[in-house]
């Protein structure tokens, strides 16, 4: 039905998150029908990204500059470091525009199921960054899952004795959340982390 180039395009699109073979076929057809408006600019953008975007050797963020725009921004204080599991988490915090310090991307979380141990994460570079001095606080912004929090506690243990304050994100009621729809664990965590008004 389709030539090998189209089949290859569909196979590659199907490997993207959220796309299966059927939706990949639709996406490929959509691109081919909009060659000038979408397919060629997308191909050029992908080629450009493959050539120029690199992982920052300091924090692990993706950027065209080395070091990345966040690490090289002189306006951002270097004293506060936010540790995240992946670049998606870094971008989420940047979107929230509430953290002005630096970042450190771990590249995952500890997982017994997937065989991810401390040696598979960017932990040594984190310890080295903290050990180099100039950092007052490390904010552990790992996921609020068993694996994410296990990773957070492991990092806290590794940083014990460095003199750096280690903090962790609060767990509780999300903005717009109604208590009736929250799970027991979240309500319990929110109650335990209550603060005086």
């Amino acid at each position: 039905m389709a030539g090998p180039q189209i089949e290859r395009l569909i196979q590659l699109l199907a490997r993207l998150p959220g796309l299966g073979p059927r939706s990949a076929r639709r996406a490929a057809l959509y691109l081919l029908e909009r060659r000038e408006a979408l397919l060629e600019p997308l191909a050029a953008a992908l080629n450009d990204a493959a050539l120029h975007i690199k992982a920052c050797p300091i924090c692990g963020n993706f950027d065209t500059h080395v070091p990345c725009a966040i690490c090289s921004d002189p306006k951002r204080p270097r004293t506060r470091l936010c540790v995240v599991a992946d670049v998606a988490s870094l971008w989420a915090i940047e979107r929230a525009d509430c953290h002005a310090g630096g970042y450190h991307v771990l590249g995952g979380v500890l997982s017994a199921l997937d065989g991810i141990g401390p040696g598979d994460l960017n932990l040594d570079s984190l310890v080295a960054r903290v050990g180099a001095g100039g950092i007052d606080e490390v904010i552990l912004a790992t996921p609020a899952t068993v694996e994410g929090q296990t990773t957070a506690h492991y990092i806290a243990d590794r940083l014990h004795g460095t003199g750096v304050m280690v903090s962790v994100l609060a767990h509780g009621v999300p903005v717009g959340g109604e208590l009736d729809y929250l799970d027991d664990g979240t309500i319990g965590a929110a109650l335990r982390a209550r603060r005086p008004l």
Partner: protein, 233 residues
């Protein structure tokens, strides 16, 4: 094919955009996995966390299929343990151990009860001792129970201080003194009840870890090693 059962979440493996293959330890159906649609949705992501006690319903066309699970949270053990590194380490180690050593779809009611008791004990301060008892119960349920009731040499039930690595039977302090380098330490709280201190917990974990590695699984999960490391093991 379908069943409903009490269960504890052991592991969660994301599948697709919002689903997950969730592995449970059930009371009557053993270690059992199933697909949970929407497991990572905003409303359900807190349910499918290792350690959580759930009410599970499994359904499949054929018995050997993966099948679909629907979960209803009964007790949010994971969220309660997250704030304390020791408790979280115990929860992770227990779930990883059950995931690693229990056979698939074979009833292990005693292992379920022991894990349930451990997760319940995480709310209190005696959880380290309960954890060691959990591993002893796991060994017993798998057919490798230790005999800590009397000295293997004299039959004496008092002053038990060692365990023979060959037989898994207790040895009294007097008899074992000459062979102490070859014997495993038996912490007092395992024979006399009560709670053990950090050194006794370390000895208890070394004892159960030795027999788990010898009889059940050559290399214990990293989560178990991290828990033992918290007690200097």
């Amino acid at each position: 094919m379908d069943w409903q059962d009490d269960a504890i979440v052991l592991a969660v493996r994301p599948l697709g955009e919002g689903g997950a293959v969730v592995e449970l330890l059930t009371r009557a159906h053993g270690r059992h996995a199933g697909l949970v649609r929407g497991a990572r949705s905003k409303n359900n992501r807190g349910v499918a966390q290792p350690g959580n006690r759930v009410s599970a319903a499994w359904r499949a066309r054929l018995a050997d299929q993966l099948g679909q699970l629907s979960l209803e949270l009964t007790t949010a053990h994971a969220a309660r343990a997250m704030e304390d590194p020791g408790r979280l380490a115990a929860l992770s180690a227990a779930c990883a151990l059950c995931h690693a050593v229990l056979p698939d779809r074979q009833p292990h009611g005693a292992a379920f009860e022991a894990l349930d008791a451990l997760l319940g004990a995480l709310a209190g301060d005696s959880w380290p001792s309960v954890y060691v008892h959990f591993e002893l119960a796991l060994l017993r349920d798998l057919g490798f129970g230790l005999d800590l009731s009397a000295c293997a040499a004299t039959g004496d039930t008092r002053d038990l201080a060692y365990v023979s690595p060959k037989t898994g039977r207790a040895v009294s302090a007097a008899v074992g003194a000459a062979y102490r380098d070859k014997l495993l330490a038996l912490p007092a709280f395992l024979t006399q009840g009560g709670e053990g201190d950090a050194a006794q917990i370390r000895d208890g974990l070394a004892l159960t870890g030795f027999f788990l590695e010898r009889h059940v699984r050559p290399h214990l999960p990293p989560a178990r090693d991290r828990l033992a490391g918290r007690f200097g093991g």
